[in-house]
């Protein structure tokens, strides 16, 4: 009796293991940090993009207003595609778009804005990439929706029409 149960048990156990591993193949192996967690925005000091003057984060972000912080760079190709959507978002004037220029050559960045337009209300610079880490970002482009000094949502990668519609829902 015991000898008959054992092969069945082995087959069932291997079947279960096979099923779990097979299911595991379908999962994405690329990790992305959580995007929906509410977090306080970091406190930092940096320089303004055009004037080069020192700015504090508390002077940029006011309570009761909705901001979209966009991390961009002139060398980043997806930023070019995204820029059009930022320009469109800025047309409605309901949201303040703040730019964070990431590890960029200032001359190239200025040319980038001249060529494609400037949707940003304010831009500050992150020369060595440490500010982006302070924000929990790991690449360009990345955008943060901010309300009451809290990050409501994080968008990793370029914005598209679908995401712009979602942002418009938040603004209403």
């Amino acid at each position: 009796m015991k000898n008959k149960i054992l092969p069945f048990l082995v087959i069932i156990i291997f079947g279960v293991i096979f099923f779990i591993f097979y299911k595991g193949l379908e999962d994405s192996k690329i990790y992305t940090p959580a995007v929906n967690t509410k977090k306080e925005i970091p406190v930092f000091n940096t320089k303004e993009f055009f004037s080069g003057e020192n700015v504090k984060s508390s002077n940029i972000f006011e309570l009761d207003k909705i901001y979209l912080l966009n991390i961009w760079s002139s060398w980043c190709v997806p930023c070019r595609q995204e820029h059009l959507f930022l320009m469109n978002l800025n047309l409605d004037n309901k949201i303040n778009i703040i730019g964070m220029n990431y590890k960029d050559n200032l001359k190239n960045a200025e040319n980038f804005l001249k060529e494609l337009g400037n949707p940003y209300k304010e831009i500050f610079i992150d020369l060595d990439g440490t500010l982006a880490i302070e924000w929990g970002a790991y690449g360009v482009p990345e955008s943060f929706l901010i309300h009451n000094n809290e990050i409501i949502k994080k968008y990793i990668g370029p914005l598209n029409q679908e995401l712009v519609d979602e942002i418009n829902l938040f603004i209403k």
Binding site: K29, I30, Y31, P33, A34, K103, D128, G129, T130, A132, I133, E134, G136, Y138, G139
Partner: protein
């Protein structure tokens, strides 16, 4: 006199170099335990991506601010989640990871005990 002055400078500089070496060791140890999110599968120490290079600067800054190793791990855990650490702690998502080897070891031990030791 010149020689004496030289010796004095060497003696004065000696402890500083020692501190720097210790800090670099610590920096390397910490960055080896942080996962690069751009080139996944590589540690921050091994990677030369923009993200990893900035992260190294941040680790240096935090060390200079006097944060301990665990405090730095905690800082990155809050920013990017548990996944950035190569050595995850015990929590509800990782308890299987931690307890399964122990469980298998105990079951295996029990089988060996029953089969070979009790039978004798």
């Amino acid at each position: 006199m010149k020689f004496l002055r030289f010796i004095l400078i060497v003696i004065l500089l000696f402890p500083y170099s020692n501190i720097n070496a210790e800090e670099a060791d610590k920096r390397n140890k910490i960055t080896k335990n942080l996962r690069c999110l751009i080139c996944q599968g590589q540690s921050v120490y091994d990677s030369d991506s923009e993200f990893a290079n900035s992260l190294k600067i941040v680790v240096d800054k935090k060390l200079q601010e006097g944060l301990s190793e665990d405090q730095i791990y905690e800082y990155f855990k809050i920013k990017y989640g548990e996944w950035i650490l190569y050595d995850p702690g015990l929590n509800k998502n990782t308890y299987i990871l931690w307890l399964l080897p122990l469980l298998i070891f105990l079951i295996g031990g029990a089988i060996i005990y029953k089969r070979f030791i009790v039978k004798k």
